[in-house]
Structures are given as structure tokens and as C-alpha cells.
């Protein structure tokens, strides 16, 4: 196996497949390399495919063809303590009509479909191929060696969409090792539950879906838990910072077990049948932890480029990945037409990303990664909220306090003045 292409996209995930699709449509020869025996079989995420304009532009009727589960209609943020839950739910007719804000999907199904679209456009999909080494000639990346179906593949440009661990980006010297403090571990249990039970339990009809984020459900570790409804099942799981996980000395699946046994969670998953268990890392360092995005003959896209952020309310990655894949493809098309594959030319990719919502959002929330390291958010504030709610509603013959006094007393007792100021500054700098 030794072949030459204009571009090799490593990884048939959302970034790689959409890059390959864009390149193939422009008439460029493109090879889409996938280490699984089918695209998507190595891929996992919480469950929500966000509305992504570039996907709709390239495949205008995508929602009519892609294997989607439910559109997310109901968003809930819930704070848990041992026996309480304080929740805020947003439901609106505006989330119940096109353009839908997001869909729950299964990655083996969705990624498989997207890679097939790239193939249909003319990309060559090679499965069972793990890209092992970059081929570098005179300082210029000019292909990859493959482990699986052994051999070499050559190209003018390599788009490394090889995921969060991107061994290729590391080899190229564009980034160092992932830091545990800037990396999240996501684990997920897929549960089967009849469609009508889900609709009744979550108050949904037709294809409406629910998305619940939980804070305070990770055994004191920095992180959160999630629940998404699929058509006939639930995706439940958690994300924790790796440094926080190792400091706890507790296996992640035990934390998941405890979460599922929480009284307010147990009733949501009651009667559900375990179908599949999965795990994946998430680049959670935000803007400040991003690698260099390009080199001579090489561009990084998706998780490989560290394009992911969370600010406690939004958790976005797949939409950033697909957008970066398309922008990398646009840059590659321009480079091929100019016959210039140098890092200097490929800096156009960075300019395109900077001008898009991708880097703008990553910059807007560049301080959020720091905020997510404030332990109190996960350990103490859920308790503060629960105690306030309990005092508000509890009728016990004791004289009541006005709200401000109640809040002040609870915060000072649980958190302390010094911490509340420090947390306030961090949260303020991140979100306000």
C-alpha cells in the first residue's frame, strides 16, 4: 500500500469526515483514514450534537438523512447533595422547531453516516488503518505510515483529526503531553428504556428530548454528570478532571454507581437495561491549553486541536470540531491551488479559525477552565443551594428570615467570607 493524495485526513470523526467531504467536493483527492473497522466505532461523547451551521451548509437536508435520536427540547441544570436536588429547567417552543438547537446521537451511527457522505462526495475511506508516524521530508509533513494495513500514504497536506490524544500533533512538536488538570475523563453508560416510558417520565412528546447536567454528583471531585434521552434509551455518565480523580483514589465507575443510586437519579433510570459502557478523554484546558494549530504540511482539527470548552453551562466540542475541519479543508484547497504547503501559507487556517465563532467562544470563556478548578463549586455550593431551598419551604414554627439574610447566613456558614469572594471573582471573570 503506497499511494499519493492531495490531502490525508487522519480520523473519520466529525472533524476529519467533514474536512474530507469539503475537499472531495472541491475536486481534491483526499484519503480519510480510520483506525476502527467502521467509522465511529472508537468514538464516544456525552450525547449531544449541537446545531452546527457548516454541517447544514454542506448537507442542507442533513436532519432528514442523518441517524438522529431526539432534538433537545428540555434543558435542566441540577445541583445535587446526598438527598436533595435543586433544578432549573428551561423548556420552550423555540427549541421545538427547526433549526433545532441540538440532537442526541449515537456516534457509531452518526460518524458512520458522515464518513459515508464524504465517500459519496469522492473521498477514499480507508478503515482498519491506525496512523502511526508522520512522514517528514525536509521538515515538511508529506504523509503518514499506517499500522494495521501496513504501508505508507503520501500527501501534500495532512489534517490530523486524530482525537484528544493526537499522537501526530505530539510527534510534530505542536504540543506536549496532556496535563491531568486540563483533561477530563468522560465515562458513560448507555441504557435501554422504552420510548413511551421516556416520554412519560420526562414529559416529552414526539421526538422531543431532555438534557440534564448535574453538579455535585461526582463524589466531591471536580466535574459533573449528565443524562440525555435517546429515542428508546438514556445516556448517563460523568466527566471528572483527571487530577481530581487520581487525588480521590476512587475508580470512576464507582462514582458513576453512586450517581445512579442517588434518589433523584434512580427514579429517572428505573427499569432501564445497561447496553454499553464507554470512556473517553476530553480536552478541558480551554483556550490557554490549545496547541499550535499548524506546521509545514500539517493542520490540527477537532479535539486534536484542543477545540473544546466548558463554562459550566455550555459544553461544546463537536460543533467546534466540524467547523475546524471545514476551515482546515478550505485552507488546504487554497494551499493546493497556490502550490504552497508551508506553515506560512497554512497560517491562513489560524486566521479563519480566529474569525469564526470557534476561537471567539474559546476566548470569551478562556478563564472558565480556571473557574472549573474551584473545588467549592462541586463540594459546597450545591449544599448551600439545597439548604436555602429547604429553609425557604420548611414550615416548622420557627420565625422566618428574609431571603437575603438567609442566603448570607448559609453562604457564610458553608463557604466562608474569604472563599466566597475568591469564588465570586473567578466566576465573575469567567462568565460575566
Amino acid at each position: 500500500m503506497a499511494k499519493s493524495f492531495d490531502v490525508i485526513c487522519v480520523g473519520a470523526g466529525p472533524a476529519g469526515s467533514l474536512a474530507a467531504l469539503k475537499l472531495a467536493r472541491a475536486g481534491k483527492s483526499v484519503c480519510l483514514l480510520e483506525r476502527g473497522s467502521r467509522p465511529g466505532e472508537k468514538n464516544m461523547f456525552g450525547g449531544l450534537l449541537h446545531h452546527t451551521p457548516v454541517l447544514n451548509e454542506l448537507i442542507p437536508d442533513f436532519a432528514g438523512h442523518a441517524p438522529l435520536e431526539r432534538h433537545v427540547y428540555q434543558k435542566t441544570l441540577a445541583f445535587l447533595t446526598d438527598e436533595s436536588a435543586v433544578s432549573l429547567t428551561f423548556e420552550s417552543g423555540s427549541f421545538d422547531r427547526a433549526p433545532f438547537n441540538g440532537f442526541t446521537v449515537f456516534r457509531p451511527a452518526f460518524d458512520g453516516w458522515l464518513a459515508a457522505e464524504a465517500e459519496r462526495a469522492g473521498a477514499l475511506l480507508l478503515t482498519d488503518c491506525t496512523a502511526e508516524n508522520l512522514i517528514i521530508k525536509d521538515g515538511q509533513v508529506s504523509g503518514v505510515t499506517v499500522k494495521g494495513r501496513e504501508g505508507e500514504l503520501h500527501a501534500h497536506i495532512v489534517i490530523a483529526a486524530d482525537g484528544v490524544l493526537s499522537l501526530l500533533a505530539k510527534q510534530a512538536g505542536l504540543r506536549g503531553d496532556l496535563r491531568p488538570a486540563a483533561t477530563g475523563l468522560g465515562i458513560k453508560l448507555l441504557l435501554g428504556l422504552p420510548e413511551e416510558v421516556i416520554n412519560e417520565r420526562f414529559g416529552l412528546v414526539r421526538d422531543q428530548g431532555a438534557d440534564i447536567s448535574f453538579v455535585g454528583a461526582t463524589g466531591g471531585m471536580r466535574g459533573g454528570a449528565f443524562l440525555y434521552t435517546n429515542r428508546a434509551g438514556l445516556s448517563v455518565g460523568l466527566v471528572v478532571h483527571l487530577d481530581s480523580l487520581t487525588a480521590s483514589g476512587k475508580p470512576p465507575y464507582e462514582v458513576l454507581d453512586e450517581f445512579l443510586a442517588h434518589p433523584q437519579v434512580r427514579k429517572l433510570v428505573k427499569g432501564a437495561v445497561p447496553l454499553e459502557y464507554s470512556a473517553h478523554l476530553i480536552p478541558e484546558g480551554g483556550y490557554k491549553a490549545m496547541p499550535r494549530l499548524y506546521g509545514d504540511g500539517l493542520m490540527l482539527a477537532g479535539d486534536a486541536a484542543g477545540l473544546c470548552y466548558t463554562n459550566g453551562i455550555n459544553l461544546e466540542g463537536i460543533n467546534l470540531a466540524m467547523t475546524s475541519g471545514v476551515l482546515a479543508a478550505e485552507t488546504a484547497i487554497a494551499a493546493i491551488e497556490a502550490g504552497d504547503y508551508s506553515a506560512r501559507f497554512l497560517s491562513l487556517y489560524k486566521k479563519k479559525l480566529d474569525a469564526s465563532f470557534v476561537i471567539k467562544d474559546m476566548k470569551t470563556f478562556k478563564n472558565a477552565a480556571g473557574m472549573m478548578h474551584r473545588e467549592n463549586i462541586f463540594k459546597k455550593y450545591p449544599r448551600v443551594l439545597a439548604n436555602i431551598m429547604e429553609r425557604l419551604y420548611r414550615v416548622d414554627g420557627r420565625p422566618r428570615s428574609r431571603l437575603l439574610r438567609l442566603v448570607r447566613r448559609e453562604v457564610l456558614r458553608q463557604v466562608g467570607l474569604k472563599d466566597i469572594i475568591a469564588d465570586g471573582i473567578k466566576i465573575g471573570r469567567s462568565l460575566l
Binding site: 483506525r35 464516544m44 457509531p108 491506525t130 499500522k147 494495521g148 496532556l178 465507575y253 447496553l275 459502557y277
Partner: protein, 91 residues
Amino acid sequence: MNIEALTQLAQFEVDDRAHIVVDKDICRTCDHRACVDACPANCYTWDEATRLLSIVYETCLECGTCYCVCDKGALDWGYPRGGYGVRYRLT
């Protein structure tokens, strides 16, 4: 659910070549062995009696947690050869 039952829910195409190899000498002197508890598939076991760290790569979910938390350079870590390893069907 216990972890054995959880990992059995996934499908694996097991390669006879291990994609992760541990340096048992380095692991013997490690002061934290974070891989043992952090691995979401419970692939690592530390035997205090023999002072040996062992790995079952066959049920590895290829997430990279061990690679990330090992700060001793004890892991020769790579992805499995193309076509081998975990095969998610639904997730």
C-alpha cells in the same frame, strides 16, 4: 453494576499484540500507581505480595487515562493496530 459486567457490555476485537506495555521495574518504584484506580475499565492491578503491576489490555477502552496520569514514563502506549481493540456499537 460491577466493572467486569460493565466492560463485558462492549465488544472487543482482541489483538495478540499488546498495544500497552508497562515497565514493571518503574512501576515497582512508583509512589502513586494512579493508573490502577483511575482506569475506567479496571485494566491495571497491583499485587502487593509480588510487587508486580499487571495490565489486561484486552478490555482496554483506549481512552488514554493511564497514559495521561502516568508521570513516570512507565508506559509504552499506542493505539491498537487498525481494526483491533474496542468496538462501540451504540454509544
